[in-house]
Symmetry: C2
């Protein structure tokens, strides 16, 4: 045996101790051992690197997302999960075409990314005067018909917020802004990206068009480009030539993938954890949401490898087609509404540290949440503030059916520098933060899976 | 008169004091007043903003560079310069076409930027296996003919360095790497960008092809893309499809633009200061080198507006077509070799602080450099280390003809995050640092222009 530094020996001793059966330690001791094993194992980065290297972006409904599913099955199998299932559902498929924008006269190019679900210009593009709106409220105030023949530019600004709340506040600009401008006659829409970085990184994301309406062309400008356009408009009239030729196929397919560590004792009580498979096309799908898959699968793997046997079933679910309208989460919620899913938790906010616990469980479950708070405190995680967590997009339908919700809130301070941009790449992952994140998940999931207190809210 | 804060009043009192004739103060006092006026005036940012808003990128030899010249004439006129001249010269014109790269099999897109002067693939692109070279030395060691039918990938890494020295060390990768790989049979070349940022920002720049050789297609990968490709190659063979269709016109035109504050006393002794007009096409030409034009013109403007009369002529020269091979600097050096240019100084390293003085002047000029060191010390600028400065690319030919060289070394710590990338945009300018930079220039130029000691080295 090679000589190891003392610290390494201590870790090995700790892991050896983990081979003890669950009954040999208190719940707090077990949680501590799972937490330390997770930190010592550090397996999420390898998963994320493998996903990035061999698959890359995974746009919803495309062949790339299908390769993401194949990867998911292989990764779950390798992690020792069983009962692996692929559950298909129908999705529309939107794919980016050619896209460009330039200011007429100077020919200054504007860096853009078409919004998911947006419509197309003619192949030769459109050229039209730009009308400035400082924010969504200003667009709401525009008179009916006043945008006829114009390109509306919504320059709404989003600030950095650790908890991502600014995305909630400003999301309407992207989701509803284009349709609102269209209802007032606009030919096309440009928005300042919902983002916090100052790189030539437009932030894409889905936009919503009322049923029966053919969507107009809409695209996000990077912040430097939005600010150039705003400065130009402040100095006088500006026309822009916009080309965006996405395609749309209403009949496509996606799927959810799941695998389990079956419970011993109460296998019918299910804890669902996971992230989403699909990503936007312009990045590499690392932070959003390769990280969520890697974190939750690594957490399950740590529990599986520890030799501890959970009382409840731990089910890892990787959702399909989240980005284009939470198709996977809604399909899963509908198909599994009658199952006894006692707790659901998703990871979909990057790869940085978990900084706070959040929950929505039955009164009987609150002592479990207190245990989780205590077990995560050594990782620097703050305790639950209240018991009203919504859970993320994909697990919200399960929550609505009565599943308890656990949310391990991640530090999103830099998330919107990367979210939905070309810059969502592997180098952005901070491995120390990622390991902390996995440790928080493994610890919390172990405590919930080895527990017997009722968690469902109805 | 509106009520002003005390500090503002102090500035106004200082500026009023500057109206005194030069004879009324010591040289050190005059230098101090120029320095403080520059800090209070803060005019470079407005120049840079105007250039960015109304012109944008200015690729060498193109109509955009011509609009940059028009801007230069207007800006020099507005600054009160006289004897404005446009001196034309011939340049080849290279323009980017369509460009894309993807990994065969997974379809992972690689973000690229064709190198200036590079050749074209067929419109449909080429698909070939990639051969990895960790650095330039590894490529040099490759056997003749060994790259036949292959795409060479040079993964040479460049580190951050305040003085930009790492660009000097690594520049051969971009300038000579493609031709070297071509000499060994390569079909095309990809290089890891000469850059220090981790955004999807490829760094373009010129590459050099031996006379009589048709250049191959070559392009820079952003660092995240270079690292993805390197990870893929470490795992097994990789083929890439590369499309790059630049155009090349050997017969184009560019020009240098100059304007003067004529000297009173010794108008035939000329101090040349300036930056370059042209920029790469993928950014907006702010840091490189709109900043150099704005800094040097703002410095001249401060001196002009101060009411002080320089003994020597201060000539601001904006050079054309620097990026594609220092065409402007060479043309200027050849046309003005016989003029009595006593000192030449260029600003071409961004918009951050001046941190050190550097020079190459006659022994008789050393006391002037000591005065400059003393006058710049309050700005935090370190004194000259030796008297062997090369000057920048555009003024080097003047230096070779005997002009003294002054180099106000700028802090380039973040320069290669932005240089030659889409991210060279106005928002990257730190106005406090820019003002310090202009103050250093105005002060140093005033001291040199009001002096009578010999500076030329031959």
């Amino acid at each position: 045996m090679p000589r190891l530094p003392l610290r390494r020996c201590a870790v090995i001793a700790t892991l050896a101790a983990l081979a003890l059966p669950a009954a040999a330690a208190t719940r707090a001791e077990q949680a501590g051992l799972v937490r330390e094993r997770a930190l010592a194992t550090s397996s999420a980065y390898a998963l994320l690197s493998d996903l990035t290297n061999t698959v890359g972006q995974r746009l919803a409904g495309t062949e790339a997302e299908a390769r993401g599913r194949d990867w998911a099955v292989k990764a779950m199998t390798a992690a020792g999960l069983v009962n692996i299932k692929i559950e298909a559902f129908a999705v529309p498929v939107w794919q980016r075409g050619l896209e460009s924008a330039e200011i007429i006269g100077t020919g200054q190019r504007l860096t853009i990314a078409a919004l998911g679900g947006s419509g197309a210009t003619p192949a030769a593009g459109i050229t039209a005067p730009v009308v400035y709106f400082a924010d969504y409220a200003a667009l709401e105030a525009a008179a009916p018909g006043s945008l006829a023949g114009k390109i509306a530019f919504i320059d709404h600004r989003m600030m950095r917020a650790q908890d991502g709340s600014s995305y909630g506040t400003n999301g309407a600009v992207r989701r509803a802004g284009p349709a609102l401008a269209q209802s007032k006659g606009a030919l096309a829409v440009l928005i300042r990206s919902l983002g916090t970085d100052y790189h030539r990184n437009p932030h894409t994301g889905s936009t919503v068009t009322p049923t029966g309406v053919t969507p107009l062309a809409s695209a996000a400008l990077s912040l430097p480009d939005a600010e150039l356009l705003a400065r130009r408009l402040a100095a006088g009239p500006v026309s822009v030539k916009l080309v965006s030729t996405p395609s749309f196929d209403p009949v496509g397919q996606s799927a959810n993938v799941s695998g389990e560590i079956p419970g011993v004792g109460a296998p019918g009580e299910i804890i669902v954890i996971g992230g989403h498979i699909d990503s936007w096309d312009i990045g590499q799908g690392v932070i959003d949401d390769g990280a969520g898959m890697a974190i939750t699968l690594a957490a399950a793997q740590v529990i599986k490898a520890s030799g501890l046997q959970p009382r409840r079933t731990i089910r890892v679910v990787f959702f399909g087609s989240e980005e284009i309208g939470i198709y996977g989460g809604r399909a899963y919620g509908a198909a599994h509404a009658d199952e006894n899913i006692v707790l659901a938790a998703e990871s979909d906010f990057g790869a940085d540290r978990v900084y706070r616990v959040s929950s929505r469980v039955a009164e009987t479950g609150k002592p479990l949440i207190a245990e989780i708070n205590a077990a995560l405190a050594p990782l620097g995680v703050a305790p639950t503030r209240d018991n009203s967590a919504g859970g993320g997009a994909d697990v919200a339908p399960l929550g609505a059916s009565g599943a308890g919700i656990l949310a391990l809130e991640q530090d999103g301070t830099r998330y919107f520098d990367l979210h939905h941009t070309p810059d969502d790449t592997l180098d952005k992952v901070d491995r120390v933060q990622l390991d902390q994140n996995v440790a928080a998940w493994a610890t919390a999931v172990w405590l919930a899976a080895s527990d017997d207190r009722a968690l469902r809210t109805k």
